[in-house]
């Protein structure tokens, strides 16, 4: 199981959880599992036509998936997928 870290602004849509274990082969599949469990997250992560929203950054361990194979990036059991949203408080 890989670990998916949910940032604070999105936790209300994931039942308050900050970390979720997912069984998936790719980043895209992990997000599918996540939004299948918590459908309230879907509109925050994806556009109506299924594209990942540009203000959501996904890092596999410490690398941006845009520098890897995007949603097709394979993931291993020990991997951590981190969702990093924009925050603007100051």
């Amino acid at each position: 199981m890989s670990l998916l870290r949910i940032p604070t602004p999105l936790r209300p849509y994931a039942n308050g959880q900050k970390e979720i274990n997912v069984q998936a082969r790719t980043v895209g599949e992990a997000l599918f599992v996540l939004t299948d469990c918590y459908s309230g997250l879907r509109p925050h992560l994806f556009t109506p036509d299924g594209q990942l929203r540009a203000f959501i950054n996904l890092f596999l361990n410490d690398e941006d998936i845009r520098q890897l194979q995007g949603l097709d990036t394979p993931i291993k059991e020990s991997d951590q997928l981190i969702l990093i949203p924009s925050i603007a408080g100051g």
């Binding site: 540009a54 941006d64 990093i84 408080g89």
Partner: protein
């Protein structure tokens, strides 16, 4: 210019603890004295940034803020004080910094940082520090830095989490490389709406000051090309790698943005963190008008879209609590034939709730202008304002 900078005997005594560090020494302290830093925002982040840079002896510090000090600031904006409530924040901050270190120059800009004045103000400074509280100004600061070739020491916070980086498009990614687009309006609550642990900006702002000093001194490994994520609850620090986006609209191989734009239009939100409280006169109901409706026993459903822990602070009798994040899944419980009044703390979340209901076909729905805080002010002064 560094050759002309010298330290007085008084300054040598003041900065002795810096001079004792081999990586700083006299030469480093002279670099700090020669440096000029613009701090945009004198609030949660700006407070520790400005205090520590002043303490360090940065020769020239510019402060940009158009706001005044109020009570709710003092939970975290430690550069200000109770005696300064009602004062301009830049004046309050300047007075504190001059007390801390009268040897340095403090410039103040009591105006919002906008496309009209940003280049003029930033021109005088080597480094910009993002201590703001809204997306439009963050994109503006980034673009100013990219277009003028200056580093942007970035920090941002929400509740218990913070982010820190140094964006320098001359040699790495800029803010737009990481966040090419802002979130949709209302998706990420501000500190005014969502709250923030008061000490959090103290930590994040101090880290920003650390990065600024490292840039000035040319020592250590900066956060350029990295984003630091801080979670105060876990006390965890996570570092991820950032790379320049070759398609970045401002610092990429074929930039489309070559001058400053309308950032409020780009982000769809105003360039400040104040709760707006109004859905427009056609959709608002004034607190006194609602009070009159209730007094006349006219049927109305009061829907509170705040979080459960806020109801303990203040509530309106007869209200039904449906937190905003759950409203969409509770729409079937609401009768569109009945009058509904939505409210929250000051009217921002309830305005979004109203938009949701209207898009679902509800028409007999109003937003309580100013939220329960306005209700407390105008109808029931026994309720606290928060």
């Amino acid at each position: 210019m560094l050759n002309t900078i010298s330290l007085s005997r008084y300054e040598i005594l003041r900065y002795s603890r810096h001079l004792l560090i081999p990586e700083v020494g006299l030469e480093g302290q002279r670099k700090i004295k020669a440096a000029s830093v613009l701090v945009i925002g004198t609030g949660g982040l700006g407070s520790p940034v400005a205090l520590y840079l002043a303490a360090a002896g940065v020769g020239r510090i510019g402060l940009v803020d158009y706001d005044v000090v109020d009570e709710s600031n003092l939970q975290r904006q430690v550069i200000h004080g109770t005696q300064r409530i009602g004062d301009l924040k830049v004046d309050s901050a300047k007075a504190r910094l001059e007390d801390l270190n009268p040897e340095i120059q403090i410039d103040t800009y009591n105006e919002p940082f906008t496309s009209e004045n940003a280049m003029r103000i930033a021109e005088e400074y080597d480094i910009l520090i993002d201590g703001t509280d809204n997306f439009p100004t963050r994109y503006l600061i980034n673009d100013v830095c990219v277009l003028t070739g200056k580093p942007n020491v970035y920090g941002s916070i929400y509740r218990f989490e913070g982010q820190v980086s140094v964006f320098d498009a001359r040699s790495g990614p800029c803010y737009r490389c990481l966040f090419p687009e802002p979130p949709p309006p209302g998706m990420v609550p501000s500190c005014a709406e969502g709250g923030v642990l008061g000490v959090l900006p103290g930590t994040v702002g101090t880290l920003q000051a650390t990065e600024a000093l490292k840039l000035i001194l040319g020592i250590g490994t900066s956060l350029k090309g990295k984003l630091m994520l801080y979670d105060a609850l876990d006390m965890s620090f996570t570092f991820v790698n950032l790379k320049k986006n070759p398609n970045c609209k401002i610092c990429g191989e074929h930039p489309e943005i070559t001058h400053l734009i309308d950032y409020e239009a780009f982000c769809g939100v105003p360039g400040h963190d104040h709760d707006e409280g109004s859905a427009g006169k056609d959709w608002d109901i004034e607190p006194l008008a609602l009070a009159e409706m209730l007094k006349q026993n006219r049927p109305v459903h009061l829907i509170d879209v705040r979080e459960p822990h806020e109801v303990e602070i203040s509530s309106i009798p007869g209200e039904k609590l449906i937190p905003l994040g759950q409203l969409a899944s509770h729409l079937s419980e609401l009768d569109s034939a009945e009058d509904i009044v939505l409210f929250c703390k000051t009217g921002t979340r309830s305005t979004r709730a109203l938009e949701l209901l209207v898009s679902a076909g509800f028409r007999k729905v109003k937003n309580l202008r100013g939220g329960i805080n306005a209700w407390a002010q105008e109808v029931n002064p026994d309720l606290p304002i928060y």
